[in-house]
């Protein structure tokens, strides 16, 4: 249980921190490292990575939307066939979530491969 808690904390904390410095795809690398280090079952690790980063990215975009980005989001929504701000927030969440999940999948497989070697 502790492993799980540490894993979630690490993946969220490191992703937020690293995204302020490195390009967006650092999310995949951070997830891979966390999934490699913490011994979580394969699909659980992937699911948690997806859920955590989906929440971070969509939550942060919701925060921006509510605080300062309402107008620009509405304009961007118009550019993307008027999909609406909710959809843009969801897309943002999915971009982050899928990236983290893929990274996590890599990390788990590398760990399993390393353990079996």
């Amino acid at each position: 249980m502790n492993q799980l808690r540490y894993y979630v904390t690490a993946i969220i904390g490191l992703c937020i921190f690293s995204n302020f410095i490195f390009p967006w795809w650092i999310t995949a690398i951070v997830s891979a490292i966390c999934s490699f280090v913490f011994k979580i079952k394969k699909w659980l690790a992937v699911t948690i990575a997806f859920t955590s980063i989906f929440t971070v990215w969509s939550g942060l975009s919701l925060f921006h939307y509510l605080n300062s980005a309402r107008n620009i989001t509405d304009m961007i929504s118009l550019i993307f066939s008027n999909v609406g701000s909710n959809t843009l927030i969801l897309i943002t969440g999915f971009v982050g979530g899928i990236t983290a999940a893929l990274g996590s999948w890599v990390g788990v497989n590398l760990r399993m491969n390393y353990k079996n070697a």
Binding site: W24, L88, T92, W105, N113
Partner: protein
């Protein structure tokens, strides 16, 4: 198997990250990098953030010092101990609020838009390069460099812009860069010169030589009647009766090409009707006893707005007004002692010459019997994700060959445009000097550096002087020269130099107590030098002069209302003729009701007026039918129509003229028939559009400069129309309204423009002034005398300090 278990997720992850990290190019569409664009850390979500997120922010730099106070509309008030530092700060602030606009506009002038949006901009880029805007900008820079004082200021301004650009990372890029996936270029004085050329293209890049040549060919002997050079309605900028104490030596008249058939070269020029109003009333016409100056330049309505508002305070000057983001200083504005405003003079300074080729290879041509060789300039046009295109531009002694007629391969036209001439003048110095001028003498001295685009510079000073100068280089021409396409085979068709600036039309403290201009002719026909119509407009100037003359004393509110005046002189002159010449007995119920409404109309083009829509539709239907000889023949689309004014004059003076007959009917129609037919179609059309109000029917829209619909305003209901003082049309209108009263205590001013200070879409100051602009209301312009006036009124402050 185990390795494959690793390779598959690694490959998919790398592919996913790679795919989302780069933009996707689909023919001429670019989908931005999804990963970057959607990232809440750096993507578009960050573009809602304010640049000024703290009350006081410091900008450490190596050279320049000063403060900027931003008022509640984000208007910066720049305070510095040196003008150089002030210009650095102005550059920084322009970039902070308008970087993308500055960058995009100058790339457009240079013909480099294909680099950003792909091959769909290729023809646009070719056109800019053939016209030679970049060439002209490079020449200007060499001249500007000679005045080290102003060039230092220009460099300081560029340094300010570049200081801002160098701070930018992806996160802080304006949204347009993220969408189109490119980065800003560093600024240089050359780019400011490009901006000057772009304005020249808008303001003096217009001509009617081809249209007029076609009209002359078509109308033959009736041409002079239908295209008079001077209309009886015209009330020129310089009052009639002004004596001109100089003469121009008589020159050989220019030889005009008589084209055997319609010339079908599509000319790309700025929309007709762009213009401006300015006027100043002296103390004797002002109810407060203070001179008052007003100006509203009519330009394309775009977002970000063309103008940027600011105040600059240094020990040498204290100036407030609007500038172009891209050019330092203040272009239209006021200081403690004077106010000035600008309208376009509208002279024709673009002439076309038919080249007499020596052979089919088009490498040499004949002038006065001698063979001259073409010079070639090869332009590489880079295109996004495609191979470059090379355009070979042929340059003649007259100028570049800009257009070639595909219908007529030997009919090539070379263009002589004033920006190709060298004047050894520093236009920037005009505004540097004007910004600190204290009186009429200094205003005149400042203008001596301004060559083009020719402008009507209205002036008022606190000591009571009012003046207007039509400033710009005026080509010396023989009668009718430059009105039509000329032969390029004769040297006599060259311009004969330029008039000395001291001979330009100007006027100081006229007896009538006011000066004004609204893009009408500068003078009556007795002016010694011939100049012809680039895009003169008569109605606004005539009405402004009539209204100001009619009333003895004017208040500031009266003058604000005059800027928003929607009265139509076209309706005043045409509607009684329409009704008088109409056989009302033959009208049906709908037509009677239609005419009945118009009979009681106040002739104001208010946005809520239904009658304005009715009249406008009727007039346009009538106009099309009268000139059906041209409008119904697509071949003749490059022929200029006689003006609305001429049409009304002909109705009045020559109602039996043959042009009222429709060419496609057997019957011989007269004026009454045409009015009836046009009323019939107007009534039907009016019903079809569900009786829209004028604002709905006109449907003004304010587009984003790059035509991204989401960043523009697709519809805004506005009053006014073409040839009305409140000259607001579908895509252009009053781009800045300013009223300045020069009181003994200093200037008191009001202003508004259709947009906002911050050019970044989504920002709260992106379009915050539009509501007031639409209603004809104004903001008080906060002219601060010193820093203490600003401390209490401005929510944000930027400090530029030494590192």
């Amino acid at each position: 198997m185990k390795i494959i278990q690793c390779i598959i997720p690694v490959s998919i992850t790398i592919f996913w990250c790679y795919f989302l990290n780069y933009p996707i190019y689909l023919k001429d569409q670019t989908i931005p990098s999804i990963g970057n664009f959607f990232s809440p850390f750096i993507g578009f979500w960050q573009n809602g953030n304010e640049p000024l997120d703290t009350k006081v922010k410091s900008i450490p730099n190596t050279q320049y010092e000063g403060q900027v106070y931003f008022d509640e509309r984000a208007v910066p008030h720049i305070i510095s101990n040196s003008i150089e530092s002030a210009y650095f700060i102005q550059g920084y602030i322009h970039a902070m609020h308008r970087l993308w606009q500055m960058d995009f506009s100058t790339r457009a002038s240079e013909g480099r838009i294909s680099e950003i949006i792909g091959s769909k901009a290729l023809e646009f880029d070719k056109n800019k390069r053939r016209k030679g805007l970049a060439e002209s900008a490079r020449r200007s820079i060499e001249i500007w460099k000679k005045n080290t004082e102003t060039f230092t200021l220009l460099e300081a301004y560029s340094n300010g812009i570049n200081y801002y650009i160098n701070q930018l990372d992806y996160k802080s890029l304006p949204i347009e860069y993220k969408l189109m996936n490119y980065r800003p270029e560093l600024w240089s004085p050359y780019k400011s010169a490009l901006y000057h050329k772009a304005m020249a293209e808008i303001l003096c890049g217009r001509d009617q030589d081809i249209e007029m040549s076609n009209a002359k060919q078509f109308f033959g002997n009736d041409f002079d009647l239908l295209y008079p050079e001077y209309n009886k309605l015209t009330d020129p900028v310089i009052p009639a009766g002004t004596k001109w104490n100089f003469q121009i030596p008589k020159n050989d008249s220019a030889s005009i090409i008589t084209n055997p058939k319609i010339i079908t070269i599509p000319i790309d020029s700025s929309p007709s009707g762009l213009g401006s109003n300015n006027w100043a009333i002296s103390a004797i016409k002002s109810s407060s006893g203070n001179p008052i100056l007003c100006n509203d330049p009519h330009l394309s309505l775009n977002l970000p707005s063309i103008w940027y508002e600011q105040q600059i305070i240094t020990p040498e000057l204290n100036v407030y007004g609007v500038s172009f983001a891209g050019i330092p200083g203040v272009i239209i504005g006021f200081n403690k002692d004077i106010a000035w405003g600008i309208t376009n003079a509208g002279w024709d300074v673009v002439d076309w010459y038919k080249i007499d080729w020596k052979d089919d290879y088009k490498t040499s041509y004949i002038v006065d019997g001698n063979v001259e060789n073409i010079k070639f300039r090869i332009e590489e046009i880079k295109i996004k994700n495609q191979k470059s295109v090379f355009d070979t531009i042929k340059i003649t002694r007259w100028g570049p060959i800009v257009y070639e007629d595909p219908q007529n391969p030997k009919f090539d036209l070379a263009m002589h445009w004033i920006i190709q001439d060298e004047f050894n003048l520093n236009e920037l110095l005009t505004f540097v000097k004007l910004n600190k001028s204290k009186n009429y003498k200094e205003y005149r001295e400042a203008l001596n550096n301004f060559s083009y685009p020719a402008q009507n510079f209205a002036f008022a000073s606190g000591n009571g002087d009012i003046a207007i100068t039509v400033q710009g280089a005026m080509p010396i021409k023989s009668n009718q020269q430059g009105r039509f396409i000329q032969s390029g085979a004769e040297i006599k068709n060259e311009w004969k130099g330029f008039l000395n600036f001291s001979l330009n039309p100007h006027c100081l403290n006229p007896e009538r107590g006011f000066i004004s201009s609204a893009n009408q002719r500068s003078t009556t026909l007795d002016y010694p030098n011939y100049y012809n119509n680039g895009d003169f407009r008569d109605y606004r100037g005539t009405l402004i002069n009539r209204l100001i003359s009619q009333k003895n004393l004017w208040t500031v509110d009266d003058l604000k209302n005059l800027q928003f005046n929607n009265y139509s002189l076209i309706a005043e002159t045409a509607l009684p003729l329409f009704i008088d010449n109409l056989d009302t007995n033959s009208l049906n119920f709908d037509e009677k009701a239609f005419v009945g409404k118009l009979e009681s109309w106040n002739k104001n083009y208010d946005s809520s007026s239904i009658e304005a829509t009715q009249f406008d539709i009727w007039f346009q239907e009538f106009y099309k039918l009268v000139w059906d000889e041209i409008t119904q023949d697509t071949l003749r689309k490059y022929t200029s129509l006689p003006s609305e004014q001429t049409t009304i004059n002909v109705m009045n003076s020559d109602p039996g003229i043959k042009y009222f007959d429709l060419i496609h009917t057997e019957k011989i129609e007269n004026l009454g028939d045409i009015l009836e037919l046009s009323l019939d179609s107007a009534t039907t059309k009016f019903k079809k559009i569900n009786s829209k109000t004028w604002g709905e029917y006109k449907a003004t829209h304010i587009d984003h400069i790059a035509r991204i619909p989401a960043f523009g305003i697709p519809f805004i209901s506005t009053s006014g129309s073409k040839d009305i003082i409140n000259a607001s049309w579908k895509t252009w209108g009053p781009s800045w309204r300013m009223v300045v009263e020069l009181t003994k205590e200093g200037p008191v001013a009001w202003g508004v423009y259709p947009g906002g200070q911050d050019g970044r879409p989504g920002n709260k100051h992106y379009m915050d002034m539009i509501n007031k602009w639409q209603k004809g209301e104004y903001y008080d312009l906060k002219y601060a005398n010193n820093e203490s006036d600003l401390n209490t009124n401005c929510p944000y402050k930027l400090q530029f300090i030494h590192k």
